[in-house]
Structures are given as C-alpha cells and as structure tokens.
C-alpha cells in the first residue's frame, strides 16, 4: 500500500495518470494559494509551479497555514514550497518569487502548463493572467474570497466566459474636487488624508499633476486648489520646525476651509464647511503622554479634540522620522504612524464638513482596503478549485459553471445552472488572435503597420493600441493630416515603447464597410532574430457581427481622479465603470459608437444563458428551491469576489 492507493481507486487509473503528468501553474501563495498547494500535492498532481511576489506578514497567519511566525518577511512562494514539499517528497514544486506580469512569463511560457489556478488578491493581476491564458489557450481556474463569500470559475477560450467578459468592480475613483473641496462621505476624507495631505507633507507631491489633469472641475475651483497646494508647500518647508503641526493644522483645517467657505457658488446646494479656529489646539492642555495612550484606543470614535491630539501626536512622530532621514513616507495600513495620521486628519476633516467620523479600527479597514479573510472559506474555495481543475483535465469544462459559497444558512454552496458562454463583445476573449515574433531592437511600429498590417493582413483604416492606449491611427476619412499626428511613433522600436506595454497589441478595424473584429497580437520577443518582425502564422479575422443596440451615455469621467488604492493592491471598491486602462483603450470605440464600446453589456437570460436541455450542469437546490436564476450583474452576490492576500 503506497501513498497513492486511495486516490487511484477513486479516480481510476487513466485520470490518475493524467493528473500526475499534468503541469500546473499556481499564481499566488496566499490564503487560497496555501490551501490549493496542499490540495494539489495530495491529489496526485506531480508538477506544480507556484509564483508569488509577496512576502509573509503577521496578519496572514490566521489562515495561510504553510507559514509560521519565523517566516515573516520571507517569500511566500519559497516558504510555501518548503512547507508543502516537506510533506510530499514525490511532487516536483517549482517556486518563483516574482511578479506574474514579468516579461519572462510570456505566452509561450504560459503554454507550457496544462491548467492554471489563479489565487490572487487583486484585479490587475487577475486580468493579466486571464488575458495570458486566453492568448495561450490554456484553461484557467479563477477564484476569490471575501469573508464568508467566495467563488470559483473555470475559464477556457471559446467555451466559457473569460474573467473580462463581465464588468468587475474596480477601486473606486473619485473626482479631484470631491476629495479636495466637496467631500460628502467619510471615504472622501480618508482619501484626502492619505493620498493628498500625507503625500504632500511627507511623500512625493502630486497635487499639481492631478489638478493639471483635471478637465472637469470648475476653473475657479481648480485655481483655488492650486493656490492651496502652493500655500501648503510653504508650510512643508518648515518640516523641521517645532511649530510644524500647528502650522499644518491652521493651514488645512482653518484657513483653507475659510477660503473654501467663502466661494459662495459652491454652497448653493450643499452645506458649507465650518472652519476650525486656528487656536483649536489651545482649548485644553495636551495629555501628559502627548496622546500616546489615546491613539491605542482603536475601537471607539474619538471626539474632535481627541482627533486633534492624535493629529498632533502622529504628525510629530512622522516629523521625527523625516528628520531622522526618511525622505518619503507613504501610507501603509500597517505603519501605525501613517495610520494614526490618516485617522486623525480624516476625522477632523469629517468634523469640518459635518460628516460622521469613525473609529481607528474602521478607518483602517476603509483606508487599507482590508478585506476580511478566514481559513474556512479559503478551504472550501480551494477544494472547489481542484474539483473544477479535474473537470478541466477530463475535458468537462462545459459542465463547470461558476460556484459560489456564502454565509447563508440555507445553502452552503450554490452553482449557476449552466456555463456562461463567451461574451461576443468581450475585448479580451472575443477577438482574433495571432502571435507576433519580434526582435525588440529593430522591430518598429512602422514595420508592424506597413509590412504586417497593411501588406500582409490587408488593413486600410485602423487603429493600433498597446497597454497604455492608442499609438497609431490611420483613417482615410480624416485625410493625411490625421496620419501625421502619429508619424513620430512609426519610427519607435518596440523596445522604445516598452516591452511590457507592447505585450499585447490590439488592431481595431476602422473601415466602414464590413469591418473585421479586433485583432490581438500577442508579442513574443526573440533574441538574435534574423528578421525584425514576423507573424507566426496568419489566421482568418472574421467580420464583426452586426452590433446590438449600444449603450449610450457612458462616461469615463473618473479617469483623472484619485483612487483609494492601497499599498497591497487589494480591490474592494465599488464602481460599475470599466477600469482606467480599458477606458483609455476603448476611447476611440466610444467615439465611433459602433456598439463595441466596452460599455457594460447587460445580458439577459434569453440572449446568453439558454439551457439547451443537453447540458447536465448541476442545479443546486436548497430546501426545495431551485436556484435557476443565473446571477447577472449582481455586484453583491457574484460577479467578483476576490481578494485574499
């Protein structure tokens, strides 16, 4: 009787061998990742590669069981391999302490895997792996948890929805003016404290750039904000003064507010703010310990005076660090000095604007985008992931609809009734695809445009987009002038554009007559390549389907705003708009109004989720109720759950 007796009997020998011989990529060694690595190694998988850039933190230990106290600050990937491998010498585990977005992990690298498991904590990396898996045509098992809730989704190009087929919640972005002039919620004050005030005082100033980019705000208001930023800079030059805390306080809670209050036009339809007197800090004597004890009290809401004490106390701590040589101090929820500063400043600002303050505990969660995470949900989700993975290996991905778990008492798990097919308007998975080999030093955009796109693929009017937006456009309707705008780019090499930006290139057909679908070129670099640029092989690019009625009036106004992004990159913000990247990318399409504009596509059951009666997908029933309603655009129940770091 060997180690493998049990599972060979249960799976049957052919599947058992398939499992053993498959190559698995596990992206992320956090909450779900630890569970998954254990489950994979004990389910007979013979070859697992685990990639994670993160290091171990104390707050991981309540669930990430491959790590111990003595591992804090070490690489998650390496320790996970060490801990899991110790128990299972028969499994080959490869650990990479690296960013999954590194250039070395190109499409060909992804192609080397049989199945890929995402166990990530942020939207950006999820979308990246999704895109690579679609390009490489490797099945992906995507998963996420938040608190008691979790989901698992198997993704395969052409068969299921991909991660980008539905809108995902992205970190909430706020217009500059909401943050700087007209906050109406505590989160606005928190973002102001951590992204504006803290950054201006102790970080790298960004205020002018943000204002320059703002195209929406009222001109007077912007002018005022620029003036404010300038005045604050004068205060900042006194960072070595004992009077610094008071100067900052007077500037931002008294004088700035007075000036703001006097801009009468702004307060016609909202309540004006109430400036704090500059002698606010003299109303009482500071506690003997300078507020040290107070700032430990994180469960109750501080009074305005207490917030003042904490403000003064924390700013002095930050000041000391600055004088001790720390040149840039950025917000980190686990850096208690920055946290205290943000809690105190946000609450003072809330007081000024008549907004309800909160406790340090709560503000930490809001400021740090902290997502609750527990071992149990991760265990359930990881178990489901492996089951979905087995379906993938058996070729049963069409029987693997999304599965959800939540805290509800009348159902422990629920699954959608059928697999959701790809969204034909998806800009990630519903495009034509080719592989493009380049030698980065000599391949230019010009060569791509003239040799490949025009000559080889027969494009006439089109735009070219890379990771940061449109880099070339050619539209005969606009004449030669339009081309000239892009002329400079044509001489740039791929290397000059930046290889990360050029990893995927999208060609959007602008011809009026039967335009073709978007073409996505996945770029693979070849060193010492004898040609500069070459398509691997040509595939047919189908005509674009006649567009359905398009959604009008979508605005991407938030693109210049301030994001409440946390250092750990977690995303739990609430918004229905597309992320910044895709908003930029799709801008041209929006103007074209051709129906492929990346607007939220509300799909109905009739359109896309028809149960053809042949699909033996599971139906979950709870106390006799069939959960046959697929979850659509339901930000609460479904579309994404993510984030366990």
């Amino acid at each position: 009787m060997g180690r493998r007796t049990y599972y060979q009997r249960a799976f049957g020998l052919p599947l058992a061998e398939q499992i053993r011989d498959s190559r698995v990529l596990l992206v992320g060694a956090g909450g779900i990742g630890c569970e998954l690595l254990k489950n994979l190694t004990l389910s007979g998988f013979g070859d697992v590669t685990v990639v994670d850039l993160d290091t171990i933190d104390l707050s991981n230990l309540n669930r990430q069981f491959l790590f111990r106290r003595e591992h804090i600050k070490k690489s998650k990937a390496l320790i996970a391999k060490e801990s899991a491998g110790k128990f299972n010498p028969e499994v080959k585990i490869t650990a990479l302490h690296d960013d999954i977005k590194s250039l070395q992990f190109d499409v060909n690298w992804f192609r080397g895997f049989t199945v890929i498991f995402n166990a990530l904590d942020n939207l950006d990396a999820r979308r990246h792996v999704n895109r690579m898996c679609i390009a490489a045509n490797v099945p992906l098992v995507e998963s996420g948890t938040t608190g008691f809730e979790g989901n698992v989704q198997a993704i395969k190009r052409g068969i299921t929805e991909c991660y980008d087929c539905t809108q995902k919640e992205t970190p909430k972005t706020f217009p500059v003016c909401t943050i700087r002039s007209t906050p109406s919620q505590l989160i606005h004050c928190i973002v102001w404290a951590k992204s504006y005030l803290l950054t201006e005082l102790f970080g790298v100033s960004e205020a002018m750039e943000a204002l320059a980019a703002d195209t929406e705000g009222d001109a007077d208001e912007i002018k005022n904000l620029k003036g404010e930023a300038e005045l604050l800079r004068q205060v900042v030059s006194h960072r070595d003064s004992d009077n610094f805390s008071k100067e900052v306080f007077t500037r931002v809670f008294s004088e700035d507010i007075k000036r703001l209050r006097d801009m009468k036009d702004m307060w016609k339809s909202r309540a004006p703010p109430t400036p704090l007197p500059s002698e606010f800090g003299e109303q009482e004597k500071l506690p003997e310990d300078g507020g040290d004890a107070l700032t430990q009290q994180d469960q109750r809401i501080w009074s305005p005076w207490e917030s003042y004490v904490a403000f003064d106390n924390s700013i002095r701590r930050l000041q000391k660090r600055f004088l001790d040589g720390e040149t840039v101090i950025e917000f980190d929820k686990d850096d208690v000095d920055t946290l205290d500063f943000v809690v105190a400043s946000a609450n003072l600002r809330a007081h000024v604007f008549g907004i309800k303050p909160q406790s340090k505990f709560t503000i930490k969660q809001m400021a740090g985008n902290i997502i609750p995470a527990i071992a149990t949900t991760n265990a359930i989700v990881a178990g489901l992931c492996v089951l979905e993975g087995l379906k993938v290996l058996r070729g049963d991905i069409h029987k693997a609809p999304m599965v959800f778990t939540n805290r509800s008492a009348d159902k422990s798990l629920s699954a959608e009734r059928v697999v959701r097919p790809p969204n034909r308007d998806c800009h990630v998975c519903s495009v034509a695809r080719m592989l493009l080999f380049i030698y980065p030093k000599t391949a230019t955009l010009g060569l791509l445009v003239k040799d490949v796109l025009i000559r080889e693929l027969g494009y006439s009017d089109f735009s070219v987009m890379n990771g940061s937006g449109i880099i070339y456009e050619r539209d005969s309707n606009f004449g030669e002038e339009d081309d000239e705008e892009w002329e400079d780019n044509l001489n740039k090499t791929f290397g000059q554009f930046g290889l990360k930006e050029m990893r995927f290139i999208t060609i959007h057909d602008l011809s009026e007559d039967e335009p073709r679908v978007d073409l996505e070129l996945a770029v693979v670099t070849r060193e010492n390549f004898s040609f500069s640029i070459e398509l691997q092989e040509q595939v047919e690019i189908p005509k674009r389907p006649v567009p359905p009625v398009s959604a009008h009036g979508m605005t991407n106004g938030a693109t210049n705003g301030i994001t409440n992004d946390a250092a750990n990159g977690a995303t739990n913000g609430i918004t229905n708009g597309p992320s910044n990247g895709s908003a930029n990318k799709r801008k041209r399409d929006l103007d074209d109004d051709d129906g492929e504009n990346g607007a939220p596509v509300k799909r109905t059951k009739d359109m896309d989720l028809v149960d053809d009666g042949q699909n033996q997908a599971p139906v979950i029933r709870t106390k006799g109720i069939v959960l046959d309603e697929p979850i659509l655009d339901d930000t609460h129940n479904g579309a994404i759950f993510i984030d366990d770091d």
Binding site: K38, L42, S59, F87, A271, I374, A375, L413, G624
Partner: protein, 563 residues
Amino acid sequence: MSQSTPPPLHQGPTAKEKKYDRQLRLWAASGQAALEDAHVLLINSGPGVVGVETLKNLVLPGVGHFTILDSAVVREEDLGVNFFLQEESVGAERAAETCKYLQELNPDVEGHSISEPVEEFIARPDTLTPYSLIIVVAPVVPDVLSKISAHGTATQTPVFYVHNVGFYIHFSLQLPPAFTIVDIHPEPEALVDLRLYKPWKELLVNAKKWTWRMENMSDHQHGHIPYVFLLLHYLMEWERTHDGKPPRTYKEKTEFRELIRSGIRTSNPEGGEENFDEAIGAVLKSLNEPTLSSTVKEVFNSPECEDLTEDSPNFWLIAHAVSQFHTKHQTLPLPGAIPDMKAVSADYAFLQGLYKTKAREEADEVLHSVRALEKSLERPNPILAAEVDAFCKQAAHIRLIRGRPIPVISPNEGVAWGERAKAAVNALTDESSLILLHIAFLTFDAFYAQRAAEGKARVPGDGADVEDDERLLTGLAQDIGTNLLTQAERELDEEDADSVKTRLGNICAELTRAGGAELHNIAALGGGLVAQEVIKAITRQYVPIDNTCLFDGVRSLSSVLLL
C-alpha cells in the same frame, strides 16, 4: 518590573489583534473571545482526514483548546492523504501525531490527544464534560453516537457528526434544543427602523415644525428638509384624506409617492430636489407595518421566554422584557440608527439625536424590566447593560433554532423519521436533492454496525468482495427507503420508484467503490464546510445550517436538509 519597563510606544494593535485582524472584522472581539474559550473534541476514525482538516480551520483562527481522540496507528497510506503526518509518523499513535502537527500551526492554541478506543473512552462517567463542542467522524457504532447525542442534548453542547467517503460529504449538526442568536449580522440597512407608522410625539412635533410653511422656504431650506420629516409631513397630509390611515397597499404607496412628487420644486437651478427623491425612494422600503417577523414571534412564543427561572440564560430574560415592551407599545425597541440623507449637517445631527435619545429611553425601559425580573427571580449576577443594549438594537433579527438529535440508525429498528418523514419523501423524487445520499450514509452506518456487532467492524467496500458489499448496501438502502415511505404513509408511482432505485443504486455503488477511503481534496473541502458551522455555533453569530449538509463532489452539488 512593570514600573521600570513602560509599554512600548505606538506599537499599534497587539500582535494577537494583528494576527487575527482579518477575522475580527467578521466576528469581532466577542466572537474571538468565545472561540478562545472553546474546547473542541474530535472523535476521529476511518482514514481520519476530514476531522483533522476541520481542526486545522479552527486552530488557525485560535480556538482555545482541542483534543483528538483516535485509537488508530499511523500507516504508510495515511501519508498520501493526510497533510498533518510525516514519514516518521508511521507506526506512531495517530492522535498524538496529528495533534503535534496541528499544534504547530498556532502557538496560542493548546492541543491534547487521547489514544483510546471510543467505546472505552465514552464508558467513563463525565468523560465528555470538559468539551464545549464535539465532532464525531464516522464510522462509529450507533450506541456511541446515541450516547454522545444524548450528552449534547442534556448539556447544551453542540455535536457534529461527519462522513467523508470518496467524493461524498455529509454532516449533521445537533445544536442545543434552544440555540439562540442575537447577532445574525444582517445588512446594515436592515438595522434601520424609522418608525414612520408609529411616530412618537417628539418626532411628530419636529416634523411639523420643520415642514411648517414649506412653500415659503428658500430653495436651500426646502431642498434640505431631511427626508424623514418630509415623509412624516406627507403622511399626515395623506391621513387627512384617508380616514386617518396610512398607505398600506402597493397601490396606495404608489399614490403616496406621487403625492410627495407633487411637492418637488423644479424651478431651482438643479431642476429637482434630492431630499424629495430620497423620500420617494424610501416609501416602499421604510413605510412598513411594525409587524413581528416569524422568527421573533417564535422567540416570544416559546416556553423558555414565558417560564423564566433563576437559571434562565440571559437571552431569555431580555427576550421576555422585550416581549413585554412589545405587548405594551406594539413595537420593538427602536434601534436608533438612521441612514445617510441630504440635510444640513446640524439638522442631520439633530435628527440623529432624536432617534438616539428615543432608542436610549426604550433600551432603558427594557433594562428596567430586566432588573425587575432579576429581582423577582433572585438572580445574583445582573446582566450587563451593554448586552441589553445590543439585544434591543437587533431585536428584529433575533433567532431561535431548535436543535434536533442526530438521526441515529439502529441495526434492528431502522430509522425513526417521525415528523421528518413527509418532507423526506417529497425530496426523494427531486433529482437535485441529495436526500438519497443521506439515506446511503444511514445505510453505510447500518452496514458498519452489523459488522461491528459480529466483531468484524468494517465499512462497505473495504473487504475482499466489493460486488457483494455493493449488492448488500443497495438492498439495505432500498429497505430504508421503503420503510420511509411506510412511515410517511406514501407510495411512489412506478416511474418515480424506478428512478429512485437507480439513483440510490448508483450512490451505493460509488460509496462502496471508495471503500471508506478519503480523497484529500474532498476532505479539505469538508473540513472547511464543517469548521464554518462550528465557528457559527461557538461564536453564536451568523446563522448556522439547520441541520444536515450534503455534498456530492462528482456533481459539485450540495443540499441542506432539515432532518
């Protein structure tokens, strides 16, 4: 010593708070304290993976103590399926080995192990007393399970009974006969009660004051009347033309919304008013009869709420006082929270104060009743006022679950389905229900019990002739099914009967094929599901499953059944 070393400055939360930060955001310090007070007993058997995986998910968040009772010795094949064993473990006591490796996960937790057959362990008096929750992993003989179940009922100790075989998971959760929950963690909006149908005098007076001569107000004033006052204003107007009755039906509420809409000013620069929009939006949500939900009624009508004794748990004393409050005022105590709304800050603060003060008064009234009850019952230790406050805030969501004994199959008498029989029969023909898996597991237990009685305890498929076992198991399962139909006084038509027979046969075949073996991945998933409910039972927060959960890993399908 303590004087010479002052506490370090600015360390922020303690290391423990930091470690548990992500879960404290779910069950708070009170839940964590309950978890740390708990002592969980795992009675392990079979390959023993699901039990250990369950404990892993309790050790990580910091359960106080755990004890593993297991008489097995580690075998080579355990290594391929149990993460918490190593090469060196082979030949050693499994209880001690798994305890050792689990303990390594969290130094805050104390693990204990007992290597002894459960029959001997259970025979000693008071042997189960130290444990606040018991997890029994099948297979065990019915006699043992019955004893533990009876202990659970008698001592209010939650008992879990778990099967994990091949691709299948089952667990039954035996909660105490009266398991009460105050904090079910409803959505924050659910904790708002504006009490618009029964406004108290002060609220009404202010509503009149704030809407007095509305038509003469400036645009700014008009657009900043808090919507609660708007609703009350228009309610009074409505009642004047509707015999003093508020809008009740959907149709009336729609008309009422139109009435509010007629008051919106559109001549202002914004061309509308946000506070009016909020009022209109709140009509369907906030204008509700102050009726009790069925779950609250169940609490108020239960004998524990009526017949208080000196030893009644705090919950019942407070529930009794709240019920008295409800009888007197025809409403539950006011929670006191109000939602965000368009208003001038000072006005919002004023409104907030109105609701807070009223909530305080009402909670004090309840507290007063509680104190009177304590006095008449001669209870020595007063209930904390904070506990009464928390109860009042969540009074509309309190929950009572009547725990039922785990269904135990006796080899001679079969299963007594009792009042569960009819519902079980209805589920038989429902292909998405996993009731047949439940029956198959009952059969699995009967099979084991028969062999144990003959002194050759083994599970189906774990022997020489798998096909014989499968035939036997299927036959037994069908007998249980037939017996269920008899108890429910029902019959199935031929087609349904055939379908049930086939599906039951397939499950029995799969169960036999596994031969009692566990798959690590399924055991890990089961460990997650069981531990999730254990945490709910220990913290008395969120609503636990009532009372049986089944999972079929072949179809990724789960069912929760009330049995």
